[in-house]
């Protein structure tokens, strides 16, 4: 009987057969690992195509580095507010946590708004999605990132609503932490994208 054998061995380390990280958090880490390859593929595509203008204007010819620097700064600051939201909830301060979550979502919203502004101004200056390989790669890379930020905002707003309904209690802090992992990842990816697109000169 399995019970008999189990009784003779009681000294097993309970943590030897799991990672000590909760299932949901481990799943989010793995998911973010796969996202690295998604953005890796998109960034590689942009690097390959960034100078292929087909005789037309390149995104690198017309972008506005100061403007995007400001919106990048806003996105990075949202990581700070995300940490504050988590820390507040862990301390049991639900109200303040809700406020920081809302702030994080709004900062993310400012970033996405900046992206929409940038896209429309590009379009007005003659660079659309179909203009040349460089523009296709630019809009796809930054667009995928924008969609990720938007989904993050959706998650944050869901947390805010849950918090208002009284469902987000201090013992749910890990849920906020996991959304936070996603949010920080999206920010870190933007640091790479910003560097690759805006800071590395195109010969």
């Amino acid at each position: 009987m399995s019970t008999a054998t189990a009784d003779t061995h009681t000294e097993h380390d309970p943590h030897a057969t799991n990672t000590g990280i909760s299932n949901t958090k481990l799943a989010m880490w793995l998911f973010l690992g796969t996202e690295c390859l998604l953005f890796g593929g998109l960034i590689s595509t942009y690097l390959l195509y960034k100078t292929r203008g087909n005789g037309k204007t390149l995104p690198t010819d017309i972008f506005d580095i100061p403007f995007t620097s400001v919106s990048s700064f806003v996105l990075l600051m949202s990581s700070l507010t995300m940490v504050l939201a988590l820390s507040a909830l862990q301390r049991g301060d639900v109200e303040r946590s809700r406020g920081w979550l809302l702030t994080t979502a709004m900062l993310g919203g400012v970033f996405v708004g900046g992206q929409v502004y940038e896209f429309t101004s590009f379009y007005r200056e003659g660079i659309g999605f179909t203009t040349n390989p460089a523009s296709s790669a630019f809009f796809t890379l930054t667009g995928f990132h924008g969609v990720h930020v938007s989904l993050g905002i959706l998650m944050l707003m869901s947390l805010v609503v849950a918090s208002m309904q009284g469902r987000l209690k201090p013992q749910n802090a890990e849920t906020v932490e996991i959304v936070g992992l996603y949010w920080h990842f999206v920010d870190i990816v933007w640091i790479f994208i910003f560097t690759v697109i805006y800071l590395i000169p195109a010969e």
Binding site: M1, S2, T3, T5, A6, H9, H12, P14, H15, A16, T17, N18, T19, I21, S22, N23, T24, K25, L26, A27, M28, L30, F31, G33, T34, E35, C36, L37, L38, G40, G41, L42, T45, L48, Y49, R52, G53, N54, F129, T130, T131, N132, P133, S135, S136, A137, T140, M155, S158, A162, R167, L168, Q171, N172, A173, E174, T175, I178, V179, Y182
Partner: protein, 672 residues
């Protein structure tokens, strides 16, 4: 996505009806009718559904193969038009890779991983159901292009640009290919994350990583490969889709785009995919060969590390598919070398299987025959693979039937034969009755003859210079004889598959008069044999405590003072009784199915009418929120003590642990 799984769910045992939001359905309860299969979150039922659906697509892909072979049986036939021929070989490849062999491996992974590590279910039961339903909706979507898309994709399974562009492929076939594979990719990605978490976090006490069965190890490596390979093809497919639907410029050479981009992205996915196909089979035969040799696997740690090595090295060989694409001599040299190196861990495995059999008391059951056949056939395919590593030889072989011969020996001879071995081996555990052994052996020999007669001659045809993907050939080329042989072989394979299906149904009918095979009909070695057949819904009455590799074998046998093996317990004595009293299982849910219905609607919307996207999007989003808000447990079902060994995290809901709500212990999971 973890956020979907559980942000707002209630704690186990605290189901508070007052907090249930409006419009959220009660969670269904597990039963035995067909509806219960639609909402089931039981990893065993999901595994069986994967298996049945995969066999269905095996028949679909097989019919496509027979059409190809019928067209090529004689020179200058007009049985299929060139366009239809292109569509058929493309869909044959896509179907066999994405809709047959990957899901069949997923069937084994779903069914066996929790049993082999001593768990009651996977880490995220609802996500597991979601993977299955998304996969099948993607599969149906992909094949619906025959009906509504103006024909199948016609660009080969690798769909090289610019052939895949709207100019050269004007029908919607390639759109269906891109979206269908994106949907199926979501399924595999979710499943891989789920199974990795399961293996890393949910092992029974004492089941350290290096006590896990080799099959679980190989499946774990496979899931890592899936998790990291799929995002790359996701990028490629999005770029292709944007080119076709939104006129972007990724693969338009006239606009200065580089068609090699597609080839690189595709094969960075495509080569790990080869190992995704073959590693589960390697794992399966690593369970079967020791069992029927009555010896532990030779060099367990070598087996595990060679599997891991294949997993890593599989990322560094992709450009050997591109030796004639103009990637430059340095790249060719580097990938040529890395390709030769990857033969080393594979060779280690073959050596270890042979050494396991060496000196063993061999029993040639059907499963063992298929396993040994796998080793032999895979070795043939592996050796012709090494000849592709030599770039000068490969330059001659590229796009000839020699390549077709190679990968069919690997995928059919190595992959499918191994999975068939697994089917015969685990059939009694899954369905509670054996597959008839006499008929099984006939099935094996028909398969072997068919396989070698189909794919063996293709080596000759390839070396004679017959091109792949060519819809016919002329009388005087000297291809006629071997093509006819290959066609006869293909029909023999078809007979073997039909015979297997016949055997499955016939054995089921005959099993009524036969006694239950018992928990352990093969005298096997791993934990899934320590529970009754078919597996009870709750898997283990009590989570076992593991003390060694081959734990189950050590519960049956010991060594006496002269170091001879003696039996200490019969399987019936050592096995658990299948009494699920007080065990709590996760409640079923309909939302995975609803969510999965939304995705193909979005797909049709992208192709035909964007309003459908809105409908599909609403359905998907609604399902996600309903999923997140539905109570973890059905409040009406009973509650009791689960075995949360180290579950000290209040947020870690019982849904993730796989032990939430009591179900009837008599609920048979094996009732197909």
């Amino acid at each position: 996505m973890a956020i979907i799984e559980e942000p707002l769910a209630l704690e186990s045992g605290q189901a508070d009806i007052a907090e249930r939001p409006l419009g959220v359905m009660t969670r269904p309860q597990e039963g035995n009718g067909w509806r219960d299969w639609l909402s089931s979150v039981d990893h065993k039922r999901i595994g069986i559904m994967y298996g049945v659906a995969a066999m269905f697509f095996f028949i679909v892909g097989g019919i496509e193969a027979l059409l190809i072979r019928t067209q090529l049986a004689f020179p200058e036939q007009g049985f299929l038009s060139p366009q239809l021929y292109n569509e058929i070989y493309t869909m044959h490849g896509v179907t066999m890779v994405f809709l047959f062999i990957m899901p069949l491996a997923a069937a084994f992974a779903n069914y066996l991983i929790p049993l082999q590590i001593g768990a009651r279910d996977v880490a995220f039961p609802r996500l597991n159901a979601l993977s299955f339903w998304i996969w099948i909706s993607g599969a149906i979507f992909l094949n619906s292009s025959w009906l509504v898309g103006g024909g199948g994709a016609d660009c080969g399974w690798f769909c090289y640009s610019p052939n895949s562009g709207v100019i050269f492929s004007p029908s919607h076939g390639v759109d269906f290919y891109a979206i269908g594979l994106l949907i199926a990719g979501i399924a595999s990605l979710v499943s891989s994350v789920n199974l990795i978490v399961t293996v890393l976090n949910m092992r029974a006490p004492g089941m350290t990583l290096f006590r896990m069965p080799v099959l679980t190890w190989m499946l774990l490596v496979t899931q890592f490969l899936l998790a990291f390979a799929l995002p790359v093809i996701t990028v490629a497919l999005f770029l292709l889709l944007f080119d076709r639907v939104f006129d972007s410029q990724f693969f338009d050479p006239e606009a200065g785009a580089d068609p090699l981009l597609w080839q690189h992205l595709f094969w960075i996915f495509g080569h790990p995919e080869v190992y995704i196909i073959i590693l589960p089979s390697f794992g399966i035969i690593s369970e079967i060969i020791p069992t029927f040799s009555r010896k532990p696997i030779f060099g367990y740690s070598f087996m595990v590390f060679s599997g891991i090595a294949i997993g890593f090295m599989g990322w560094g060989v992709w450009a050997h598919h591109m030796f004639v694409s103009g990637i430059g001599p340095i790249s060719v040299l580097a990938f040529s070398l890395s390709t030769m190196f990857i033969a080393v861990p594979t060779g280690v495995k073959i050596l270890n299987w042979l050494a396991t059999m060496w000196g063993g008391k061999l029993r040639f059951t059907t499963a063992m025959l298929f396993a040994v056949g796998t080793v032999g056939m895979f070795t043939i395919g592996g050796l012709s693979g090494v000849t592709h590593a030599l770039a000068p030889a490969d330059t001659q072989q590229t796009d000839t039937y020699y390549i077709v011969a190679h990968f069919h020996y690997v995928i059919f001879g190595g992959g499918v034969m191994g999975l068939m071995a697994g089917a015969y081996f685990w059939w009694p555990k899954i369905f509670g009755h054996m597959l008839n052994e006499a008929r099984g052996k006939i099935h094996f020999w028909i398969s072997m003859v068919g396989l070698n007669l189909t794919f063996g001659p293709m080596h000759v045809l390839g070396l004679q210079g017959m091109s792949r993907r060519i819809d016919t050939y002329s009388e005087g080329f000297g291809f006629a004889f071997w093509n006819l042989m290959a066609t006869i072989g293909a029909y023999i394979i078809a007979i073997s598959v039909a015979y297997f299906i016949y055997n499955a149904f016939r054995s089921r009918k005959e099993a009524v008069d036969l006694p239950n095979p018992g928990p352990d009909p093969w005298d096997a070695r791993s934990l899934e044999w320590s529970i009754p057949s078919p597996t009870p819904a709750h898997n283990f009455d009590e989570i076992p405590t593991v003390e060694s590799q081959d734990e189950w074998w050590h519960r049956k046998y010991a060594f006496d003072e002269n170091n001879n093996v003696i039996r200490i317990a019969t399987p019936e004595e050592a096995a658990q009784k299948g009494d699920g009293e007080g065990v709590h299982l996760p409640s079923p849910s309909f939302w995975p199915l609803v969510l999965a219905v939304g995705l193909p609607l979005i797909g049709y919307g992208i192709i035909f009418n964007l309003w459908l996207c809105v409908l599909g999007g609403l359905l998907t989003a609604g399902a996600i929120y309903s999923w997140a808000l539905e109570p973890v447990d059905d409040p009406n079902a009973g509650h009791g003590h689960g075995d949360h060994g180290d579950d000290d995290d209040p947020d870690d809901h019982s849904d993730d642990e796989g032990d939430a709500v009591a179900v009837g212990a008599d609920d048979s999971a094996g009732d197909a």
